[in-house]
Symmetry: C2
Subunit: 323 residues, 2 copies
Amino acid sequence: MQTKPILIVGSMAFDDLEFPVPVASPDVRSAAESDPRATTSFKDVVGGSATYSALAASAFAPVRVVAVVGRDFPEATLETLRSRRIDTAGIERADGLTFRWKGRYHADLVNRDTLDTQLNVFANFRPRLASGYGDSPLVLLGNIHPELQLEVLEQTTKPELVVADTMNFWITGEPKTLAKLIARIDLLIINDEEARLLSGIHNLARAAKEILSRGPKGLIIKRGEHGSLFFDKDGVFAAPALLLEHVVDPTGAGDSFAGGLLGYLAEQGKYDHHTMRRAMMHGTAAASYCVEAVGTLGLSELSRENIRQRVERIRHLTHVGEE
Amino acid sequence: MQTKPILIVGSMAFDDLEFPVPVASPDVRSAAESDPRATTSFKDVVGGSATYSALAASAFAPVRVVAVVGRDFPEATLETLRSRRIDTAGIERADGLTFRWKGRYHADLVNRDTLDTQLNVFANFRPRLASGYGDSPLVLLGNIHPELQLEVLEQTTKPELVVADTMNFWITGEPKTLAKLIARIDLLIINDEEARLLSGIHNLARAAKEILSRGPKGLIIKRGEHGSLFFDKDGVFAAPALLLEHVVDPTGAGDSFAGGLLGYLAEQGKYDHHTMRRAMMHGTAAASYCVEAVGTLGLSELSRENIRQRVERIRHLTHVGEE
């Protein structure tokens, strides 16, 4: 069975991250190893939805990225991506500065405040698919303006699976464009608060029904440290999150989840309900590696075998034998 | 195999409940059937930890209750308990008013504010085990003053399994007595915020390790709509909550969970790790019936077969087949 290539569009960014507790410095993998006097701020951390998703997906499948970076973005990072069979021909280097996000996490390492967003080269970005990208069988439309997500979709030729992520900002600000997008995709990935906002329904079971009635074949609702839910016409699946002893930086967890999920589906080449259940666990495994280190460090050497080991742990976490 | 009797000590109460959204009146089972003009307040709802736990446990096993009620507590309710093989000989009727709790739920039906607490006859309650209760093989020490929980424990003769619940109020106010209790029990059941408060550790995996080092063989951490976690020397288990379309009143969910859990263990007569995993699912099933109606109505006719059906749904929710 040939693993299929995945087209990923999204942001590539520098993140400035602040943590109110001592965390590991970027060159150690676990908070347990950190010096309590260590700084709690990290500047110029390479991030962005496309970066996280591509790194996670590349543990499974060849990846093609559509994104834009500025002249300040390190060539070494692009080299790292290429060393993981990530095609960077679709990454445009524009004359300006790379998109930048600055955020401060609360002590729970779940809630966070956005302190600053600088769109920079992202402000005028129009995604153009590099040669040979249009026939990609799997497409991940990362969280960017739904108009741009639609533009990418229109440049593809009958993909087998189209997955999109979005956020509060577009749900509130671009409801019509988003509705058009949602009607055309196979799978929508959002978090619980976004599902409530999008549907206007607090109860997640009913919110999911309402969202599925708008067109997508499947819906994934992410609940952070509480795991994730998958809904389609064949039922509901609840994937637990791993109980990690050392969560360092949750930035990119959702994007890594999506990357791992699509990677597994690309490898399997099928998208039925039961394959989706297993794909959720592979996405969860990818996200678990992401949050154990600052930025993309937890993903930079992620292997298929690493994923397999964590999937076994996740499987064991909810396994119930017969009486 | 003979199902073993369960001794339950806890509160019996009148609850005054306020909901900020229209909910079902007590004589309908689902919010879907409710009149949106219906009142959102319910007064004199029979509640209390012992009541909820005993009703849930009685779907599995004979139950013996130790509690106190006032002269205003309806004899008909005691009659209902007796009709479900719940022994009420240990329920003392004191000269005064029954314990009363008044609470207001937020729109999320998760968070709530306590508006009033009247201890009434509970203020001078000293639990005394009725004749024949002392040799109960399973003991559930519901959430009351840890001094009273210890008094009950001292009146028992070598129970096979002692389970205790507690809350923020005792963790903060009675740390020494609570520590003494925790060192003597087999299983502690608390929620995630209580686990963090008790251990002083935010991360739940590490908080659980710390709490287990204080003596109990097992620890259950409840996470409401996100399910629950079980920790012991043999590993970790994550039970999902059912995705219910109509949650009406979460009061008593945790007590119903404990009752269903002990009921299953009493039926099985063993307490190993894998039996505990299944017990968690049976507790989850009991709690799911509880929250679908106001007060104890969802439990008043709960059968073993009802539980079995929901356990199948819970099992399906996390089931993952082989590739």
